[in-house]
């Protein structure tokens, strides 16, 4: 029987959740025995080449590209997992959700203490290639259907490991008190 295939991505995240995945230490050897990876920063495969079994989503949706990638994942993965607080509730990027987008952009490119004076023509990023910033940061499950949620900032390595093992083996997931945390 072929191995289950895993895809991962980081949307509006910091890659901390991917770091936590690597934090399973030597179990990574067991992991590559258990699963194959497709589109993922782990193996640098940029586009889906086949249907995947499990998609791990880090980060929420803060721009149009995030939404596009998330929808691609939904199309190409049988099971989608929101990995970490940003995917689940927007996380720290969602701190901007009460601030108008224009105000955020002006702070970043015109008024912020590190940029003031260095942008005399007051240019805001306007290249057509750039994804459009959304009005706010959306949790992944408000854009597509998400099947499972692994909270944490980042989710602890044991939580990710337990979830992957449970998904691959079909056994019930172990959820000890210490591993399910929101920070």
């Amino acid at each position: 029987m072929s191995k289950p295939i895993v895809a991962t991505t980081s949307l509006a995240g910091c890659f901390g959740c991917h770091m936590s995945l690597l934090d399973i230490d030597e179990r990574i050897l067991e992991l590559i025995e258990l699963v194959d990876f497709n589109k993922s920063p782990v193996d640098d495969i940029k586009e889906f080449t086949q249907m995947c079994d499990i998609g791990l989503i880090e980060g929420g949706c803060c721009n149009s590209e995030n939404v596009h990638v998330l929808k691609e994942f939904r199309k190409n993965c049988r099971i989608l997992v929101s990995l970490g607080e940003c995917a689940i509730m927007g996380g720290l990027p969602a701190l901007r959700n009460n601030i108008p987008v224009r105000e955020c952009i002006e702070e970043a490119y015109l008024n912020g203490p590190t940029v003031s004076g260095s942008n005399p023509d007051k240019i805001l990023p306007n290249d057509q290639e750039l994804p459009i910033i959304l009005d706010k940061v959306y949790p992944c499950h408000e854009i597509v259907k998400i099947d499972y949620y692994l909270p944490g900032c980042p989710p602890q390595a044991d939580l990710i490991w337990n979830a992957l093992v449970a998904l691959v083996t079909g056994d019930e997931m172990k959820l000890p008190y210490e591993v399910v945390k929101f920070d």
């Binding site: 607080e85 969602a94 701190l95 210490e178 929101f182």
Partner: protein
């Protein structure tokens, strides 16, 4: 909140408004489990089938506690007149949903606490609180010591079932020792009810009504607070809404209150009676 009102019915509300609650003497008598009154009358009742005994007139949260049973609370504080505002302590008493903190224990009561339906109701309340405020746990100074977060852990909330509101809320950092972050406030009124000056003046108050209600602080009185008083205000806040300045993240991850022990487990392990 409409869902919750439907689920809980209005029975719980009626008990809040019984004349007993407005009688100060009566309130005082059931306010504390520490009062050892050998003369007081005992009553027998059951919680989830377990036979329990407590002093007559004691409120159900405290009565359950001395019998080693945890009923979760967010607005209730031992020794303070119960408010029944958070509804998390809802139990079924003789088949009817009622808030345990505003209910006096009585002879022969049949109480259901850890049954799936009640647990689901509590989870719904927790999830509602998480989406109606802006609870960014990873960045919060109260994380690990937060009662709301600890309840979410206890009831295994992986994600709220409701959409996030991301409502705009203000931070008031004018006072020298404390600041109020209304993004996290759940309006339990613990601070309003229990933080008073020696002359009975309140330092905290509610301003506005309904969803516009906010906690405000009397800056003059807050300025005169001692470090101990400020610490107490921070400690009684069940979330990270009242925080002492310059004291953030003082306990490392792993050593905080609810890092390894679920909320209520001390009560469940400590069957004193």
């Amino acid at each position: 909140m409409g869902v919750i009102r439907k689920l809980f019915g209005d029975q719980g509300r009626k008990t809040e408004k019984t004349p007993l609650q407005d009688d100060p003497e009566r309130t005082a008598s059931h306010s504390s489990t520490n009062i050892v009154n050998t003369m007081s009358e005992k009553v027998k009742f059951t919680i989830d089938g377990k036979a329990c005994v407590a002093d007559k007139g004691m409120n159900l949260v405290d009565a359950a506690k001395i019998n080693g049973i945890y009923i979760p609370t967010l607005c209730h504080l031992e020794g303070v007149k119960p408010a029944g505002s958070c509804r998390i302590c809802n139990v079924r008493i003789n088949g009817r949903p009622m808030t345990a903190c505003t209910t006096e224990v009585a002879e022969g009561m049949v109480i259901e606490n850890n049954i799936p339906e009640i647990q689901e109701m509590r989870k719904i309340i927790i999830e509602t609180l998480f989406v109606s405020g802006n609870h960014f746990c990873p960045a919060c100074e109260k994380s690990g010591n937060c009662e709301l977060q600890a309840l979410a852990y206890r009831y295994q909330m992986m994600v709220p079932r409701f959409p996030y509101e991301f409502e705009e809320k203000q931070v008031d950092a004018t006072s020298p020792k404390l600041y109020i972050d209304r993004n996290r406030c759940i309006l339990c009124k613990r601070c309003v009810r229990s933080i008073k000056k020696a002359d009975g003046k309140s330092i905290f108050a509610i301003k506005g009504r309904g969803h516009k209600a906010i906690i405000i602080i009397d800056h003059k009185l807050a300025e005169a607070m001692t470090d101990e008083e400020a610490q107490r205000a921070m400690d009684i806040c069940p979330v990270g809404s009242i925080l002492r300045k310059e004291r953030g993240y003082i306990t490392p991850i792993g050593k905080r209150k609810y890092d390894t022990t679920p909320i209520g487990s001390d009560i469940e392990q400590n069957v004193t009676k």
